[in-house]
Symmetry: C2
């Protein structure tokens, strides 16, 4: 069983409007809702791949109930979210029908009390036995200490469970020092962590800071992996065009799936790139196209990367 | 007891963001929620004035539960909303902290089934005995027939209950022909109904179409009332500056309160203008400032209006 942690779960709401004009009033023509937050997105992809997944983190209020109702519809995902007094945040993606562009509004999330945070840490520790891999995903809600992920990485390591970390900023900086097995920063997150805008240099620096392996997602250029077993670049066979929403979460699901199955790195990277590209190609934002995934999987180019000069 | 009808209730959500830029991502710094839809806003003002108010209309889903939870906190308001299978809509007001301007996103509302609409009409008829005045407020959710307000006006007249109508477009046009006691269009709604942009001419035309009395809200110029008892203009003693959100609903509450108490027209208009101005002056959008209301009430200028040439 794979475990994903989403401390700041969300009810992801998408609005379609015929032309967004600031400081005016709009009738929303279409409303869609689904459970969100990186760890829940990762879990949905893992379940579609056939894995058994448990999701944990926090849920609260009417928005939290809507998230949990949405999760019951996803077969293969077990809900182990913990209740909090505050309400789960909403994220609103406003899609402009004329341009196809998206304007994003993200609520901060509920304020988590020290007692709620303690209860989570205990529940997390209780879940770890029997887990093949754990992913710690996304931003921290107000009230959760900035060193939260560092503590959760240490607990997983003590339990002997490999841990993937996908976050940013100071929570990432602190948690890297706790020696996670794998981090998956994008170019901006990597530059913020290391101060370097040169991906290979920055990736090596991130390893020196404590990450056992680093897989940097470089947009259309694909993935750059620097690991104790070697270095690789992996990219789709041709540039894919579409909606990049959720592509990063699909890449995490691919890497986590390969980590749980102890696949060789080239296979993990192929899976991550194919899932990510199949998500960009999907007509539904954040979902991946199964046929595109199957078709792409054998065609991902994985090249060994030379050492940095 | 006063009854207000809100067929398309809403969970009104306000976001503060530090500068709204289309096609980018925003962290919302402050989230506030409250029950919304014109009839619920009117009820809240009536309750604050000391009236007993019952609210009816539709409620559904997690958003509907949040609306009903919010209503229980308002003393003097009785919840007689009817459940529907769909979810109560959200409205999102995005306030730009830099400019103070608001961008509004309004969901369409749940689709009401014919059975739900029939159940509402029966419940409404059952509520009317003992009601001193009824207000029919706001837009129609999908599925409710465009002639809905016309039917609800007729049912109220049959029950001998005076009826105030505050809506727009085709639902207003149909319902005016059913002879409501009072309509309160703004300048745009009045022009759309009558084809005339000259308020006095348009107001008289609206009476010829069936409304017993018409009170047109003309923004900073105040109210223009054309009634069987006479014609008046009413305006605050000085121009008020602030947030106009809810000012129209407060004016409706003032008029409805005066209608229920059978006050002379000049007193009804004073109350409506003072409440409306005290709402613009309030630091909280959609609430009215009690002290400003008390202070303004005796200072509203009500002038008799000469006949049109």
């Amino acid at each position: 069983m794979i475990l994903t942690v989403t401390l700041n779960t969300a009810l992801d709401i998408t609005y379609r409007v015929p032309g967004l004009r600031p400081h005016s009033s709009h009738r929303v023509t279409e409303v869609t809702e689904r459970p969100g937050g990186k760890g829940l997105n990762v879990a949905r992809v893992l379940a579609a791949l056939g894995h058994e997944v448990t999701v944990t983190g926090f849920t609260g209020g009417p928005t939290g109930r809507a998230v949990q109702d949405g999760l019951t519809a996803v077969s293969g995902v077990v809900d182990a979210l913990l209740p909090v007094g505050g309400a789960t945040r909403r994220t609103i993606a406003v899609v402009d029908d004329r341009t196809g562009d998206t304007t994003q509004l993200n609520e901060p999330g509920p304020t988590v009390t020290p007692a709620e945070w303690n209860a989570f840490q205990e529940a997390y520790e209780d879940l770890l036995p029997g887990v093949s891999a754990v992913a710690l995903c996304g931003s921290l809600p107000p009230g959760v200490p900035v060193g939260a992920y560092a503590g959760l990485v240490r607990t997983a390591r003590t339990a002997g469970v490999p841990v993937l970390l996908d976050t940013s900023g100071e929570p990432l900086r602190r948690a890297v020092a706790a020696r996670p097995d794998l981090i998956k920063p994008n170019a901006d997150e990597l530059a913020e962590l290391t101060g370097s805008h040169e991906p290979l240099r920055a990736t090596q620096d991130a390893r020196r800071r404590g990450a056992r392996s680093v897989v940097a997602s470089l947009g259309a250029e694909g993935l750059l992996a620097v690991t104790p077993e070697g270095r690789w670049r992996a990219a789709p066979p041709a540039r894919v065009r579409g909606n990049p929403t959720g592509a990063g979460d699909s890449a995490v699901a691919g890497l986590l799936s390969g980590l749980a199955e102890k696949l060789p790195w080239p296979d993990r990277l192929s899976r991550a790139v194919a899932l990510s590209a199949a998500t960009v190609l999907s007509p539904v934002a954040g979902e991946y196209d199964h046929r595109a995934y199957e078709e792409l999987l054998g065609r991902v180019e994985v090249r060994t990367e030379a050492s940095a000069a």
